[in-house]
């Protein structure tokens, strides 16, 4: 009898709390919480930033050519791999695999594309500083497309000469350029590159860079889609009723996200990423070569001939502030990786830079327990959230899924 009285009292108290929350959503948030919640809404996303390093970034003809190149499997060693092989349009431009499969298997997880035009750094380790420079990497990776820049230039000449010329001017003569040649190649591919004179190397590099610029023009059109969370934020911003836009559990998860979960330390702004690099103690994958993350990526982006300050960039040096003022790699950047946007995150397991964690729930357990980093120093501290709190946080993350699942563009 005593137990049932207690249970009844608990039920009444619980439902009273639930009713209070349901009828007074606008009074739920402290000023600081509300400020952070509003900062995460998609309506706060600024217009697409210009890419001064890519003169055709906003040319629809370049986007059209780039889209064709993105899905063209001829740009691979085995004729079966295109950008779209791993960046699947109906799967948020990723592939659901722990590690990408091109002509071989890579050491990292395929990243989604939406919103990457906003990021100063591309790839998990930021070894590229523009979408167009990024697009060139996989083309010459031995385990992704497995091709080389001379092969790509010849393909453009054979299949896309007119579209190319309309955007970039006539193709240079490739008559004396061997079928395969690249400074990043091995054996005869490298030898053949070394045998080319500077004029021919420059001509091939320029065609190669322009392929990246066309692909980037297409990728710029891939933008994040509104979620139920955004509808909630818009209502909150307008002082309207938010009841029913998020469940009470999702709302509670949002409170933890901007509060004691400390998620907005790295997942901030409308894209829910700071586009910087963090060591969060993610385990190394057994059997893979040592992965130093951003500390190697820093050196690579500075040395990249296709960076913002390089000869194939259309930018004035003054437009390259991110590269110019880049923080040189210190201890903090060892095994530091870029947080991807959390928009749509629930729909794309597995997680982390090599798909080390299978489920979103286990990712939250990782952040809650803060294991030591295999190398460098993890920025995490244990959060001591309860399982109920973790479940709420996970529910909130699901509310970041796009409302429309239609493939774009």
């Amino acid at each position: 009898m005593r137990a049932s009285t207690l249970l009844l009292a608990a039920l009444i108290a619980g439902s009273a709390t639930a009713t209070y929350r349901a009828i007074s959503p606008k009074t739920n948030w402290t000023d600081e919480e509300a400020r952070l919640v509003l900062s995460l809404g998609l309506s706060k996303l600024p217009p697409l930033p210009a890419d001064p390093s890519n003169a055709v970034a906003d040319d629809p003809r370049a986007a059209e050519l780039g889209k064709a190149l993105f899905f063209d499997t001829r740009f691979s060693a085995n004729g079966k791999v295109a950008c779209g092989t791993c960046h699947l349009p109906d799967r948020q431009f990723q592939d659901d695999l722990a590690r990408a499969k091109g002509v071989g298997v890579t050491a990292r997880r395929t990243m989604p594309i939406a919103g990457t035009a906003y990021s100063p750094w591309l790839f998990w380790d930021g070894r590229k500083d523009s979408q167009w420079a990024q697009a060139l990497g996989p083309l010459e990776s031995a385990v992704e497309h497995g091709t080389d820049r001379a092969f790509i230039a010849h393909l453009i000449e054979t299949h896309y000469a007119d579209q190319y010329a309309a955007l970039f001017g006539p193709l240079p003569s490739l008559a004396d350029v061997p079928n395969h040649a690249s400074p990043t190649g091995l054996g005869p591919v490298l030898d053949d590159w070394m045998a080319l004179d500077d004029t021919r190397r420059d001509a091939v590099n320029r065609v190669f860079a322009n392929v990246g610029k066309a692909i980037a023009a297409f990728e710029r059109t891939i933008t994040p889609r509104p979620s139920r969370f955004d509808a909630y934020v818009d209502a909150l911003a307008a002082g309207k009723d938010t009841v029913g836009l998020l469940s009470l559990q999702e709302e509670e998860g949002l409170r933890i996200f901007v509060g004691k979960g400390e998620c907005t330390k790295c997942h901030n702004g409308p894209l829910l990423t700071d586009n910087f690099f963090h060591n969060t103690g993610v385990a190394a994958v057994p059997g893979l070569p040592e992965d130093q993350g951003r500390s190697l990526g820093t050196d690579q982006v500075l040395a990249d001939p296709f960076n913002c300050l390089g000869p194939y960039s259309d930018a004035d040096p003054g437009d390259c502030a991110e590269l110019k003022y880049l923080a040189k790699a210190g201890h903090e950047m060892t095994r530091a990786y870029k947080p991807p946007s959390l928009r749509g995150v629930a729909g794309r397991p597995p997680y982390m830079h090599a798909g080390q964690i299978a489920t979103l729930g286990d990712v939250l357990v990782h952040y809650n327990t803060a294991p030591a980093a295999p190398d460098g120093h993890s920025e995490l501290e244990p959060l001591n959230l309860t399982s109920t709190e973790l479940a709420s946080l996970e529910a909130f993350l699901v509310s970041l899924d796009p409302i429309s699942t239609e493939a774009q563009p």
């Binding site: 330390k265 901030n268 700071d274 586009n275 502030a321 003022y325 040189k328």
Partner: protein, 148 residues
């Protein structure tokens, strides 16, 4: 030659210090910014050799947006210091990390004013910006607090 007891004590002190430092680190993580944080954007340098004032080029400063600051250096009596060398660093004291960029003075604007480029803060919370100023009166330092 070395005393084995002293060496053992020294060895023991390593984990003790590590644990103590880790403990302080955890305690710091949990803290909100100090309530009495000096948020003024103009103040004397630490040794009183100069007065430094900063004008962030963004108001309010947005998380994640690269921008510039103008720094003005004067002597304590208000005379502009035209030939200061200024270096910039900073970070988040409660998180133990630095700035995501390496800002630099890009121009001497004259009149004791200096343009700093490359300022960026990638997280909400308490940041410090440290200026090292070397001028005719000698080197000095000053720290500004920013809360985003």
């Amino acid at each position: 030659m070395s005393n084995p007891i002293t060496r053992r004590r020294l060895l023991w002190s390593v984990p003790v210090i590590l644990i103590a430092v880790a403990g302080v680190g955890v305690a710091k993580m949990m803290q909100p910014p100090p309530a009495d944080l000096d948020l003024s954007l103009a103040k004397p340098t630490d040794q009183g050799l100069y007065t430094a004032a900063v004008e962030p080029g963004l108001s309010p400063i947005a998380v994640g947006t690269m921008h510039g600051w103008v720094v003005s250096i004067t002597t304590p009596d208000g005379t502009p210091v035209e030939t200061a060398e200024i270096t910039v660093d900073g970070g988040m004291p409660q998180h133990g990390h630095g700035l995501p960029t390496e800002p630099e003075v890009s121009a001497n604007l004259g009149g004791g004013r200096y343009q700093i480029e490359g300022m960026k803060f990638n997280m909400p919370g308490w940041w410090v910006v440290n200026l090292a100023v070397d001028g005719p009166a000698g080197p000095d330092t000053v720290t500004f607090n920013i809360v985003l």
